[in-house]
């Protein structure tokens, strides 16, 4: 296991000293206007993500982290600021930035294989090329044996692996993950976190990962962005210098998670004192 992991480590294509970041957000704001009241979901957020990086955005519910991800995905339009991807302003969604959603994003009328093929089909990849790519990513998430299964026959963890394969199959420049493991039970979550780490080490993908789970962030991220709500702002940015592959039960990861939690809690007390309490 350890041997395999370190082999994966050496295979990972590292990008060093890139001239410009793959993703660059400058002073990005987003408001949602409803009939009752206007809420500022994200205010003046600046963030850069380099190619090959694994960045986690952590914060309590309502801190705007999913909004931030949707802006990068091109699903939400921003109200102020600049969002650049690969040197160009983000205008709408595109297969270069694919989202893995929390749940219920697979198509029940398609079997596992056809679900993984979905993005390739939209992209216009045909015939042998599509078959080979689909096989490769089914293998990557260990679901080749279940390729004929329907979505409702899969466990929660398997569904998320199908989503991951579907997203990776179109070879996006950046993978956006919106609390992908939040709906899973603890054991399944541990397994999938480990698998994701391994896949990231192997493929060299760039990942922006949104979560409210600090242990998850400490395990996976190169860099953790801590966000606070009301309005959603970036409060801290923490580099995670831990060696890979990491194990969620080691002291290093647990201690680091505690450090992230302290950042979050410090703010929770502060805002509770000012009468804007929220639950982490």
């Amino acid at each position: 296991m350890i041997g395999m992991m370190s082999k994966a480590e050496t295979q990972r294509p590292r990008t060093t000293g890139t001239a410009s970041p793959l993703l660059s957000l400058q002073g990005v704001s987003k408001r949602f206007n409803t009939s009752r009241h206007d809420t500022t979901a994200v205010e003046a957020v600046s963030l850069e993500v380099n190619a090959g990086e694994f960045v986690c955005v952590v914060g309590p519910s309502g801190c705007g982290k999913s909004t931030l991800l949707n802006i990068v995905a091109g699903l939400d339009r921003l109200d102020a600021g600049v969002a650049m991807f690969d040197g160009r302003p983000i205008r709408g969604a595109g297969a270069d930035r694919v989202v893995v959603f929390q749940d219920a994003a697979l198509y029940p009328w398609l079997n596992v294989r056809a679900n993984v093929e979905f993005g390739l089909k939209i992209k216009g990849v045909r015939g042998k090329e599509r078959r080979i790519a689909t096989d490769r990513y089914l293998d990557l998430v260990n679901l080749r044996a279940f390729e004929r299964a329907f979505v409702h026959e899969l466990s929660g963890g398997m569904k998320q692996r199908v989503q991951l394969a579907r997203a990776l199959a179109v070879e996006p420049r950046m993978l956006l993950m919106d609390e992908p493991f939040a709906a899973l039970d603890a054991q399944t979550r541990d397994v999938l976190q480990e698998e994701l780490q391994e896949i990231w080490l192997r493929t060299g993908a760039t990942i922006l990962f949104v979560t409210h789970n600090v242990r998850e962030a400490a395990l996976l991220a190169d860099r953790v962005i801590v966000m606070t709500p009301g309005p959603g702002r970036i409060k801290a940015e923490i580099s995670v210098p831990l060696q890979r592959p990491r194990d969620i039960d080691t002291h290093a990861v647990v201690d680091f998670a505690a450090e992230i939690r302290r950042e979050l809690q410090h703010d929770a007390y502060a805002s509770r004192a000012s009468g804007e309490g929220y639950v982490i």
Binding site: L75, A93, R97, W109, K121
Partner: protein, 262 residues
């Protein structure tokens, strides 16, 4: 397969059903023998059977059935195309729902036969008038279930398509149309049964070759066996379409979506 049939639950179910229908026939025959009503008003099962056979042999029943099903098919296909288009437009564009959508809901409460006077004035005494009534009978039900079908597609399934850069046409083809099938399986069945009823009502009121007209002929000639034979044919056609057309569609939906067998 066959050995399984003779020992399994299917076998006993078949036995029960045969016994049930046989006893219905027996009661019918008994009531006929008791001569409570005149044989003209209450014919025996055998009279109905011979009427059915002679009318099949003369080709009258066949021609009527063909004419009725032809009209039904044209009206239903038109209703399907128009209803799907209206339903999808209502579900995807708010201004269409606010305008056309309210008309659809209103029209759904109008019994389709109420369109017949208008249809006769517009199309004259022609089969077109009947086809129009059939169309009006089912188009609203199909439009409503198409709209609900699109609305019931989980938002993340629609977003996932956008994320992969799907065009509007690709989203329609790969997500909207298959995603609305659970609702459409119900909606088409409902629309079809509305069409079938509208057709019979229209054919009864306005003469053209058809099963409804044949019922009317039976009444005019006081030919009760013919009336009952035609009614049996109408029931049989209804059941056949239900089993052969909509049964498999529903089964497919249940299998893919993992819905419980009912």
């Amino acid at each position: 397969m066959s050995s399984k049939f003779f020992t399994g639950a299917n076998f006993w179910r078949a036995v029960r059903q045969v016994a049930f229908y046989a006893s219905l026939l027996a009661i019918w025959q008994l009531l006929y023998k008791l001569e409570l009503w005149s044989p003209y008003l209450f014919p025996s099962p055998h009279d109905v059977w011979s009427s059915l056979r002679s009318n099949i042999e003369s080709g009258l029943l066949w021609d009527s059935t063909r004419a009725s099903i032809g009209r039904l098919a044209v009206g239903f296909v038109l209703a399907f195309v128009i209803g799907m288009t209206m339903g999808i437009a209502c579900a995807t564009m708010r201004w269409v729902d606010e305008t056309v959508g309210s008309v659809v809901v209103g029209m759904q409460s109008l019994p389709s036969i109420a369109w017949l006077p208008l249809a006769v004035l517009w199309f004259g005494l022609s089969p077109k008038a009947i086809t129009f009534v059939v169309l009006m009978g089912s188009v609203w039900a199909i439009a409503i279930s198409a709209r609900d079908g699109v609305r019931n597609i989980p938002i993340l399934q629609q977003r996932a398509a956008r994320v992969f850069g799907a065009s509007r046409l690709q989203t329609l083809r790969y997500v909207t149309l298959p995603g609305m099938l659970p609702s459409m399986a119900q909606g088409l069945k409902l629309g079809w049964s509305f069409s079938w009823r509208s057709l019979m009502a229209a054919e009864l009121l306005y003469s053209a070759v058809g099963l409804g007209h044949l019922l009317q002929v039976g009444r005019d000639l006081a030919d009760m066996p013919l009336v009952l034979a035609v009614m049996a044919v109408i029931v049989a056609i209804g059941l056949a379409f239900d089993r052969l057309l909509f049964g498999p569609l529903e089964g497919w939906v249940r299998q893919r979506w993992g819905l419980a067998q009912t």
